[in-house]
């Protein structure tokens, strides 16, 4: 039976598929956790692929398990579906419809808020003011593009900007996953550059390079570009 490339490198699972520790996000994460605990609104801004969703998912991991966290990607939020329903459904059909209980202290994580409707914005404001929502976190690629109400903007405590990783952090991230020996620093940096400094794409690309490096021990920096071009995924940075 043919071995997968990661099995040859003594990994049981594909290291790139595993949810690893986030590198370079410690401060951001702390801010996110803090604003959830303190009950504030927060806006996370960052280019696509820099890890906004990752941050929100970390928050789900940290606070989930008590039926308090709602993660919504607003893109998937249908026009008619409203936040009010969402809150109540999450709280349970039985207690909201029959006992008419109101949800309390929910944590709402909204991804891609540029798709959020005005009406839902107002609702969020109302529920936040009434303390049904303990904390709201918005994530989008650009704060200025998002069409939030002035009153919501005033309630937002802080605007976090997720930046691209530095070269060093990129190297750290890959090494965290696959260990020291497989890829050299220079190759990783080159892959990162070729991936337009986009995290998601960077991980995909490094997986491809890794696959080849596991068979070909002395991989050169120049080869990387060719490999990636062959797979057809990357857009080379100019």
């Amino acid at each position: 039976m043919k071995m997968e490339w990661y099995e040859e490198l003594d990994f049981d699972d594909n290291p790139f598929k595993k949810e690893g520790k986030t590198v370079g996000y410690d401060d951001l994460l702390e801010d996110v956790f803090y604003s959830i605990i303190a009950g504030n609104m927060l806006f996370i801004e960052g280019e696509s692929g820099t890890g906004k969703t990752k941050l929100l998912k970390e928050a789900v991991n940290r606070f989930g398990g008590h039926g308090k966290v709602i993660y919504v990607n607003c893109k998937q939020l249908h026009k008619e579906l409203n936040v009010e329903r969402l809150l109540k459904d999450k709280y349970g059909w039985f207690s909201t419809r029959l006992l008419n209980k109101k949800p309390k202290n929910m944590i709402l994580l909204l991804d891609e808020v540029e798709h959020l409707s005005k009406r839902n914005c107002e609702r969020i404001k109302y529920y936040f003011d009434q303390n049904y929502l303990r904390s709201v976190i918005f994530a989008s690629h650009d704060f200025d593009v998002v069409d939030l109400n002035e009153s919501i903007k005033q309630r937002i405590h802080k605007k976090l900007t997720v930046k691209n990783l530095s070269d060093y952090e990129a190297v750290q991230m890959v090494k965290e996953k696959i260990g020291e020996e497989v890829l050299s620093d220079r190759i990783i940096k080159h892959v990162y550059k070729l991936s337009n400094k986009n995290n998601k794409r960077f991980l995909e690309n490094s997986e491809i390079v890794c696959k080849i490096a596991s068979q070909n021990k002395d991989l050169k920096e120049e080869d990387v570009e060719k490999i990636l071009e062959e797979t057809g995924i990357p857009a080379v940075a100019k």
Binding site: E30, F33, G39, Y126, Q130, N131
Partner: protein, 352 residues
Amino acid sequence: MNRIWYKQLGFYNNPFSIKPAAFHDNLFGYEDLVARVIKSVDAGNFVFIEGEYGRGKTTILKHLLRYFGGHKKVIYFSVNRVEKRMQIRRLLNERYGRIGKWFDIRPKDMILLLDEVQEMDGKDVEKMLKFQKEGNFKSIVFVGQKYNETNFPANVAKNLKLFKLENMTENDAVSLIRKRIGKLEFFNDNVIKKIFVMSHHNARAMLKNCEILCRKAVDYGSEKITDKMLEEFFGEVVSVQEEPKDEKIFLELDEEAEEDFEEEVEKTPVKKTKKKFVEDISEDVAVEDSFEKDKKYFGESDEIDEELSRMEMEEEAEEEKEVNITNGVQDAVAAEEALGKDAEDILDKHYY
């Protein structure tokens, strides 16, 4: 993340929460206005309260809700919740639950508090007027950003009393913060006033800024918020009317005693002697009415502070020295710990 600034200071919840529901019992600067609103509600008028963002509109409504509440006579409704059109009949019926809905039973003499009425239009108001004529509503309080005449039919507008929310005064801002955090040594009153002015006299913005500043200060382990920190944060420092500083009293207190501070002050003879001082310096007081307000809220006066500080200048100088020394020691210990950690990290990496 287990170190959250307000928990370190002994608060269970975030004391600077901007949610109106969290601290709806403190209302500062609007006592007169609320009294007048209550009067006209009792008289059965329509009331419109207009004010800009973050001035405390919803807080005032919450206050009214508490004032009139408890007899099942008040309906609070935020207009921005609705999908298309307000269903006023539904609101009234819900007072009697499901049966009310089925048989269309409507209560009499209700007080309706409406928040965010900028979402509402003339038709809704007319409907309300109809119900009011039938005796279902005693009075309606509208709260919104701006009074829009076109939304209100002429016969409503005639009976409508318009109230405008003015800015809070600086002293009100101080009382607001003091009510929430007690006598924390992070702020003295001047700093609060500065923050208030730099937040453009906006109460919500002030609370936000206070929270950020407090968090920073606790994280960096500094004892209080200085002008320098303000400058870093806002980029500028405005000067406010300086008042004699009252920080010196705090040095007498242990950290544990902080929370009981207000009670202690009332018990201590300081308060009794205060009146004498006030009489002595009555001229000053006459000049500054604002002082009078401060005293009402804090139960202490700045004049005494001056007097006290003069009397105990020497003792305090010593104490201050001590504090500085202990701080130095703590810093050193912290630095050592940090070093130790670093060293461990390095070791870990090597052996890993």
